[in-house]
Every structure is written in structure tokens, then in C-alpha cells.
Symmetry: C2
Subunit: 154 residues, 2 copies
DNA sequence: TGGGGTAGGTCTACTATAGAGACCGCCTCC
DNA sequence: GGAGGCGGTCTCTATAGTAGACCTACCCCA
């Protein structure tokens, strides 16, 4: 709580509306680790180094293209490192860099929260979906077809 | 560190490759708050309740469509609440729900990390971009045009 | 009495991004 | 000698996000 309230203060220092994420560390880091795969990669590499195909097997529903791209981006940002071994055929190993290591701690907090609260979230979601919006969302009723609820992938 | 290593253990319990994010709290929460806007909304609402247009002004580069959608999703998951006041014209206020409040603490950790490390990240990025890949990325050189580096928006 | 502003959204059209799946050269194993 | 694994890249298509006009209803001010 104390931590949170201190963070709230800090939030107020950042211009949320800033267009360039380069000026807002929050948006910067979220753009990096907030995508669908980065954090999973980091989690996998936190356990031990992985080779390309190992990662592909560990997170089997990522495409090779996205795997390549995600790893490249993480490497670019110094969160992981890439080691090529001159075997035949060459093997490539990815490891967590110190910067990536330092991310584990804050990530752990988030994981904990997710673990604790995903039950509540699902409950809330079910409740929301169960209540078929009798009150019109739009205060000044237009024709309003069906609200296009964003579908989260399977 | 202790926190992180405990998290690593926890990671190993989750099937990262699971297709249905519903089975993996980590993916579930990341899909929720990992998108471009959700966390910014939560940050804004952490400071004080906001009305729709206030949020739009606070995060001026979000489109109204995405604002609506993001708020709806957050409401659906019980992270924020929506209060309609029967004024003329009606005004709508968004507030952080208890569940959203509980997210502030883990988020704060992430914000701190971002704050501390975004300098390192930028440095690493500059270093990476400055080294124009003399070693071919692909071990078994195909024709390999130019690697399509993902472009993060402005 | 009518023009502009504010409110909370929705709609369509466009564009950027992610996903799928084939392909690559080279090597090993059966 | 064919299959399969290695670490990727390629193109194509589906999906998600963006921009911005539009909507109804009210108020204020002239």
C-alpha cells in the first residue's frame, strides 16, 4: 500500500498523454514487456538458458516469426543475450542478461497478483457478461447496433 | 531477489505453452494490462476518478474508440467501475475498483523498474542499433534481405 | 431562434501488426 | 537416401488498432 501510494505520486510526474513513449518510461517499458510474448520469454529464460527451438517448444503457440522478432527486440534492449556456438549445425542459446534479471523482481509482484486475483477477474467477467447491459451504454441513445466487444484470443 | 527466485519457481508451474490463456494467470493478466492503454488508464484513475473526456484529455493520443473499449474491458474485469450521474447531459465517472487498487502495488514495482532502467535500455538499444549486424543473424545464410526490425510507434 | 460548445459514445474506412506456414542450406541418424 | 532437426526468413492473409466524422440532447449567449 505504501509502495502503491508512492507510485501514484510518481505517476503524476509522468505526462501520460505524451506522444513519444521515449519520454515516458512507463510507456516505454510497457511497450517492451507488455506484448504478448516478451514476458513469457523472460519467464522461460529465467529458469535456465534456452535454445531457439527449446523456446519454440516451451511456448508452442508462438510462430517462429514472432519468436525471432521477440527475441531480437529483447536482445536489442539488453534484456537477454544471444550466444552462437560454432557447432555443426550452429546452435544458438539465449540467456537472461543482468538487466533482464533485474526485471524478475518487479515481474514477480505482477505474477503474484495475477495468481491471487485471476479468480476475481473471471468472476467479474462472468458477472459482466451475464448482465446483458439493460442500461444503454450510450447516454444519448443513437441507433447503436451491437457493441463490438473486443474478443480476447482463445 | 528472494522474491524473484520464488517467482521463478512459480513460473515453472505454469504451462507457458498453454493455448488457452484462461489456464495461465500470467498470460491472462498480461493480456489485460499489457495492452497499450489499460495501464495508463489505471494510473490515471489511481490518482483520482476521471470522467470520460478527462481521460481523453489526460491521454490525448488515444482514440475515443480505444478509450471506450479499454474502459469497457477494464470494467468487465472488475478493475474499474462506471458511475452514471443523471445530470443533463449525463456525465459518467470512472473509478478504480478494489481489484484495480490491489493492482497498484505490483504495478508500482514495475514503474520503479522502468524508471531505474530505461536509461540502460536506451543505451543497449543504441549500442545494438549502432552495431550493424556484421555477424549474419541466420546461421545458415539464406538470401536474407534486411531483417525487418519491428518499429515501435512514435 | 439558432449557433457553438459539451457530453459520452458509435460508425466506417484505412493501416499497421500478428499469425500461418512454406522454404532454406547443412548436418545427422536410421 | 529420405526424414528430421537446426535457426531462421519469406510471403500472404486475418485481425487489431487508428483517425476522424457523426449522433442525440442539453446549455449558454446573442
Amino acid at each position: 500500500m505504501s509502495n502503491a501510494s508512492s507510485a501514484i505520486e510518481r505517476f503524476s510526474r509522468y505526462p501520460l498523454g505524451e506522444s513519444q513513449s521515449v519520454h515516458c518510461p512507463v510507456r516505454d517499458v510497457l511497450d517492451r514487456i507488455g506484448d504478448k510474448w516478451s514476458m513469457l520469454m523472460i519467464m522461460a529464460l529465467a529458469m535456465r538458458p534456452h535454445r531457439f527451438s527449446e523456446l519454440h517448444r516451451a511456448v508452442h503457440d508462438i510462430s517462429k516469426r514472432m519468436l525471432t522478432q521477440t527475441l531480437r527486440d529483447l536482445e536489442r534492449d539488453g534484456l537477454i543475450t544471444r550466444h552462437v556456438f560454432p557447432t555443426k549445425p550452429p546452435s544458438v542459446e539465449y540467456r537472461l542478461a543482468p538487466l533482464g534479471q533485474s526485471l524478475l523482481d518487479p515481474m514477480a509482484g505482477l505474477i503474484d497478483w495475477a495468481d491471487r486475483c485471476h479468480g476475481d477477474i473471471h468472476a467479474a467477467r462472468a458477472r459482466f457478461d451475464g448482465t446483458p447491459v439493460d442500461v444503454p451504454r450510450q447516454a444519448f441513445t443513437a441507433r447503436s447496433k451491437v457493441p463490438p466487444v473486443r474478443k480476447k484470443m482463445a
